[in-house]
Amino acid sequence: MREVAIVAAGMTPFGELWEMSLRRLFAEAALEAITMAGVDHLDAIYVGNMSGGCFVGQEHLGPLMADQIGMAGVPSTRVESACASGGIALRTAFFEVASGASDLVLASGVEKMNDGADATNVLATAADQELEVYHGITFPGLYAMIARAHMEAYGTTEEDLSWVSVKNHRHGALNPKAQFPLEFTLEQVMNSTPVAEPLRLLHCSPVSDGAAAVLLCPLDQAKKYTDQPIKILGTGQATSAMALADRKDPTFLDSVQLSAERAYTMAGVGPDDIDVAEVHDCFAISEICCIEALGLVERSQAARAAASGLTALGGRIPVNTSGGLKAKGHPVGATGIAQIIEIYEQLRGESGRRQVQGARLGLAQNMGGSGASSVVHILERI
């Protein structure tokens, strides 16, 4: 396999973007990346998207999006894996370049969640329709069940959950592209309205519009496009049982651990080598479960990691410097690529007030459903 680099990135702000359609969001992010690299052609396009069909009644996004950026004719494929669609679009693009089949591939993600559809219903299509959704569960509800099981097993508290949100909003306040770039106090989080007990509004990622795109090429061609390419050192993907009830331990995200092991092995590094990480904090409890499954923090420290500052900017392993899904926003199909862009910028030293000094190795973990799919990428400054 050839070595692969990211040479350009583009991203819209995340938020309720009423003036922007699904296609406009994609075009803005894609054209920013293409312009940055100064390329006039692409060999392939991958579009991560969870549910154009349910959110805005639009499927067949491959050709639609290629056409929108003047690239009709180029092979273009939509990749779907619920909230992990973006991360898996990147992985697919990575293999296309690594295999030698293509030299210039755009990996993107886009979601338009605010266009009138009932987001709660649409998001629930990523859970098991017959066994879970039938009975009235929601996505916040599934993670609430994980949270309650975690509290029961490990003594995790509502305050621990709330610290994750406080930390990520502190980070997000420094991110001009974040949907909610503002800080909240512990009290505000703990007194916000209940969504699915024990999760409250300020433990949940919001409903967002947005798009993100990165350009991949073989590492040995990267200097044509940028002075500072970032290498994709490892990729790993895994699945788990779809229904939460079918997992042996509802508190443990086994797909996250498995995808991480695969990425670490491919990269030849371990969790202790990581300088900065973006993890899938769709709900406060997910960050706690993910940092543990990724091996970034020991199980005994995971619940208190945000409160103790371990995972805050300036801490031993800063997690979600972008503000995470919580503060930056979570346009589901775009999230995996947006995480990659945060790591890409961190490794290039472009993160301004969010910069982790000297960051050389970064990790991004993107998850679908209640953890039925997970994808991990490890990036390296070279």
């Binding site: 709660t120 629930a124 066994l131 959704v133 009975h135 009235g136 929601t138 209940p194 007990e197 939460l244």
Partner: protein, 136 residues
Amino acid sequence: MPSPRYWREVPSRLRLEAARCSGCGKVNYPPRPICPGCRGKESEPVTLSKTATIITSTVIHIAPDDFLFEAPYAIAIVETPEGARFMAQVVECDPSSVGPGMDVSLEFRLIRKEARSGILCYGFKAVPTASWEAQS
């Protein structure tokens, strides 16, 4: 929900029919062609008991459209004595009293109504047992 889709699930959803894997003994609910535990293909039918214990739970405040007027409601993952785990609403109690470890009985109930002219959809809901309530 189109009625063929509903009808297909009748044996498991309305009659609690499951399958015990002949290879590893795992009870799979609903039955599948292959056991997710050991990939065995042989199994014998079992009907689940109508009692269970709550593994974990939540109280839904922001509900999907079809359940809007029921919120807040408790919903849980329950485990039957056969070891089958699945999701069910927990009713006839204060939703905030529901939590892991609680013993429940499973009762045949209306689960949802499909839109204005759709079919009525049934299944099982969990009700805390009298002995559990006496204990607490």
